[in-house]
């Protein structure tokens, strides 16, 4: 091929939209032999907000723990182009903001400030930058007044917000939330929905709360028995009664 043609081709091909998450054929079995993931393939574009639904034991949480290498299975995972390997784990963990289901597991420091500062401190940022990030993160979740509080004094909804702030302070590429609305009263849940809508971040959110999914997420991925069984427009999937029934889901 003539060099000019190659150059033209290069120019002509549009630069691909950067993908926040690429997962290719991810398999995983727990040490006790339980097979949790049987080939999960998923792509999430930057800025996309995706809901991950499915019955308990479908492998949602296991999949989420693969994304920053806490569990390591077979297959390929890339976060914003960076493959997840042993060597890249520190950078990967700075890019994936993983919020666990139980905020008591996530908030382990004596004060809210220290907990939110934990991630930025481990990224080696200077003290001023750490403080600025903590203030910004707490502002984003409307918890600025809780700076010096101790986590065990907080309500469930407050803890969830702080838990989200702990990863926002790391300015992640993708926010990964495990059942964020579980255990919240209606008002706290409403607040959480507003919060998630206002955050301009790529998101993967596992949940049983299909009403929230319909309100918040355009794209929905259904997992069952370690596989992705459906991936598409939320409205279309929620209208497919047969599909929902087959995987133990109920339209809201």
């Amino acid at each position: 091929m003539h060099p000019d043609t190659i150059a033209t081709n290069l120019r002509a091909s549009p630069t691909p939209e950067p993908l926040s998450l690429v997962a290719d054929d991810v398999h995983f079995a727990y040490p006790d032999g339980h097979v949790a993931l049987r080939g999960v393939t998923l792509r999430i574009a930057r800025g996309e907000k995706v809901a991950l639904v499915g019955p308990n034991g479908a492998g949602k949480s296991t999949f989420m723990l693969q994304l920053n290498g806490i569990l390591e299975g077979r297959g390929r995972i890339e976060i914003a182009g960076l493959p997840v390997t042993k060597r890249t784990l520190p950078q990967v963990r700075a890019r994936v903001g993983l919020v666990f289901q139980n905020p008591d597991d996530q908030l382990f420091s004596p004060t809210v400030f220290e907990d939110v500062a934990f991630g930025p401190l481990h990224m080696g940022l200077p003290a001023d930058e750490v403080r600025a990030r903590v203030d910004r993160a707490l502002d984003l979740v409307s918890m600025a007044a809780y700076h010096d509080r101790q986590p065990f004094h907080l309500s469930m909804g407050e803890k969830k917000r702080i838990a989200i702030a702990t990863v926002l302070a790391m300015m992640p590429e993708i926010l990964v939330l495990d059942e964020p609305s579980a255990g919240l009263d209606p008002r706290a849940r409403r607040g959480l929905i507003h919060l998630l809508r206002s955050l301009p971040l790529t998101m993967l959110v596992s949940t049983h709360d299909l009403a929230m999914v319909r309100e918040l997420f355009d794209r929905m991925v259904i997992m069952d028995e370690g596989r992705i069984v459906a991936d598409g427009q939320t409205d279309a999937l929620l209208a497919d009664r047969a599909l929902l029934d087959a995987h133990g889901l109920e339209a809201p």
């Binding site: 723990l65 920053n68 806490i70 520190p90 963990r93 700075a94 994936v96 993983l98 666990f100 139980n102 008591d104 597991d105 996530q106 382990f108 420091s109 004596p110 004060t111 220290e114 500062a117 934990f118 991630g119 401190l121 481990h122 990224m123 003290a127 750490v130 403080r131 010096d148 101790q150 986590p151 065990f152 469930m156 702990t166 990863v167 790391m170």
Partner: protein, 268 residues
Amino acid sequence: MMHTHLLDRYREAQSVIHRLDPRVKVVVTLLFIVSTALLPDGAWFAFALSFILVLSCSFLARLGVTFALRRSFVVLPFALAAITAIIAVPGRPLFMWQIGGTTIIGTDAGVVRFLSILARSWLSVQMAIVLTATTNVPDLLHALRHLRVPEVLVAIVGFMLRYLSVLADEAARLLRAREARSALLANRRGGGSPGWRARVAGYMAGQLFLRSYERSDRVYNAMLARGFAGRFLAINPHLMREHDWWALAVTVVALTVVQLAGQGFPPG
């Protein structure tokens, strides 16, 4: 939702003592305890001076003069372990007991030793109570870390304080669940045998252990997810100000006076 606040020893208030740098408070408390431990038996005047120091700290901290005294009674049972000193120290016999074939003799020096041990432990505990009442847990942990207490120890204390209330809530839920099903029929003896009940209690303790163990796994995962690499990092928010240095100086002088008084008036 349950809230067990086992560890809320801290009393929110605005006082000279509350505003002191926590490191100063920890050091002052330790100096006080060492000083008290060094006082010889029967140095009643020095013990009294130390007691006045505790009282003035309580007063300055606006805790109420008898605050520490009232809370210190919990340690009395432990101090009673020293009661054997009465019969173990040689001296002028005061009384005698005949138990079986052995004679137990209480001596005057023994009584003095016992009361001195009681006074020392009591005073030390009161000062520690003032410390925990005027310093909240995060500040206390910072102070320990900045005083070069090994990181791992501080982390263990920190996790314990953070999760003890979570654990207590879990235990309370287990107990409540057992309560809810501990039913009896109107005309039937129930409740099971003591052995069976002990086994149930054992299972519950095991449950609690397993839950804590699993939780520790999840907490560690949460730490890993945010970049934990084996070291605890913190920003230093503490600054020694003028009144901190003053507090330290006053303590050193006061304790020197106590020591002079104590060593100058040996017993007998």
